[in-house]
Symmetry: C2
Subunit: 344 residues, 2 copies
Amino acid sequence: MATIREISEKANVSIATVSKVLNGKGSVNEKTRQTVLQVARQLNYRPNLNARNLKSGQSRTIGIITEDLTVFNAPEIVDGIAAACDEAGYHYILGNLRFYKRYGNGQKDLKESNALVHAAVNGMLSKQVDGIIYIGCHSHIVVSLSEHTEPKFVCAYCISKDENIPSVIYNDEKAAYDLTEILLNYGDRRIGMITGPLDSSHTANRTRGHQRALFDHGVPYDPCLTFVGDWERDSGYALAEKLIAAGVTAIFAHNDLMAVGVLDYCNEKRINVGRDLRLIGFDDREVASVCRPRLSTAAPPLFEIGQAAAREMLSILAGNKASEQNIMLDCSIIERESTLGSKP
Amino acid sequence: MATIREISEKANVSIATVSKVLNGKGSVNEKTRQTVLQVARQLNYRPNLNARNLKSGQSRTIGIITEDLTVFNAPEIVDGIAAACDEAGYHYILGNLRFYKRYGNGQKDLKESNALVHAAVNGMLSKQVDGIIYIGCHSHIVVSLSEHTEPKFVCAYCISKDENIPSVIYNDEKAAYDLTEILLNYGDRRIGMITGPLDSSHTANRTRGHQRALFDHGVPYDPCLTFVGDWERDSGYALAEKLIAAGVTAIFAHNDLMAVGVLDYCNEKRINVGRDLRLIGFDDREVASVCRPRLSTAAPPLFEIGQAAAREMLSILAGNKASEQNIMLDCSIIERESTLGSKP
DNA sequence: ATATGAAAGTTAAACGTTTTCCTAACTCTG
DNA sequence: CAGAGTTAGGAAAACGTTTAACTTTCATAT
């Protein structure tokens, strides 16, 4: 690999001059500038970032830690971060904890997972990152991050328990509100809801949004039309029966998978979803546009979450204060045949 | 950030000694070793990799370039690479070209995309990576990589046009053979096939595997039972009609999406897939386990491809010769209700 | 003619490591 | 006790940059 010194020799100038040309700093004669540039190109010169970063003491790099690149919507978020970094001339490095592959969903060993996060953070600090963005949903892990006070942290897709770490999340409640409003605008008054487990903050937020929409439209909330699911398809199937028996004209399921379960039930019972029953899910996973009728749902702004997290980080690194509030982005509301009726 | 020098001062030894302790090289008295270690821990010391890599001239890092992290099965492959790297104590950095987001599937501007790849490669070389793994499916781009001869290259998920670049791919033909054999073992003799477009190597390979299986089982191949699709659901739907009219008892679609199209047709016509007609797809995308009946299909070994690519790279970096042949991994054959009949 | 200052370059130190070579002290061996 | 070998540790150079401080040159203003 060609170095700055080789260029300086070939071009008959000092290495300082070469450095100036390459960085566009200081004043150098246009002719020498051209010569240097030409020699550099000819030698196929590429700066050694290790040397540059070492000397200048800054890497213009942010670290991204994902709990698991292959679950959740991590790739989209990483993509958003990457886009924002590219735009700003920053670099990024990825650390993939491979959490779920390692432990399954059970997270059997908290100690071990903490160690994993610590190791990843330390590794990134060794690489002199300016800040770290954490993508995941386990705030108990995130908390352990804050012990390391040196670099800047930002959480994406989760709320950090630590007040000092800004978080970028999506607005569950508003999306649930908007989805419910779709149903209300169609005239539905008896709307069933299948929630996620009660210990999930998503469940709480989505329920709140739903109730608020009902309230704003003067429709009383009937607790008998709400059942608690477990995010899985089967629970959607099972609860669909109860809700339909209760005479609902629409169902809002807290995720697409449970909505598909409802769909299964309706298909079996020859209930025409979209006409006789309106159905709404949440998440916009692939299944939502693959099932028939396709599901109306809310798509979390994953790319934008990544982008916003990166921008927040860059802003902090530029010396600005971190946002006081968590940054909350809106979901896209996607209406499909499950509320529209069959394809036009 | 604490440095080696600070440790040396606190511990009253030279920096050389500290370095030796930290790297476990040279001989140092057990007592001083402990002191140094303790001071290091106390100062929360983390080695500066920029300095280390600069001095030692090697980074133990490989670069990963993905055409687009959010399409294809890139995340799984990256995951496999990451796992192999972790295992070997190597680092990796990710470069996401965001190809499809930028250009859509059309790749309107080859010049520009080449520039993109070059920039990514140059960036990685600046970071002193020892080698680069390219994940994607556009060999024309990969070819442009080989102009850069300095680092080692490995292709994952695609075959490089350049003979010198080893590639890790999955065995399309064998998977198609095995899938067809499932049908043959059920006694199917009139098997319809819906292929991908004719200019795809997948189409050629899968067709070959299919024909070979028929041949080995003494079943003549009937060209009238093969139709060319376009990977999309609608083509599966349309061609299902023709094949069923032709009296097939089973259909092998070259991907899951077209198979789901077949399923749509069958559901509409009340043909019981799994009992009256056996159906097989390819790819094991999410849809395959979401549709009803669930699809029998072949799952490309994505994680393993990443892992193998990384291992090949590490082997090359260790001084071994690159594999003569492309490395070909088998798909997992997954049998579900679309060939098994309804759920037990 | 002299002073001022900008322009164009250079010198050399520094960033935090690793590593080669060196020295001193000790322990064997015969 | 001399020589050899081992152990423990240190001094200093080097990796490829950036950058502060400096020098030289030359145009311009007084």
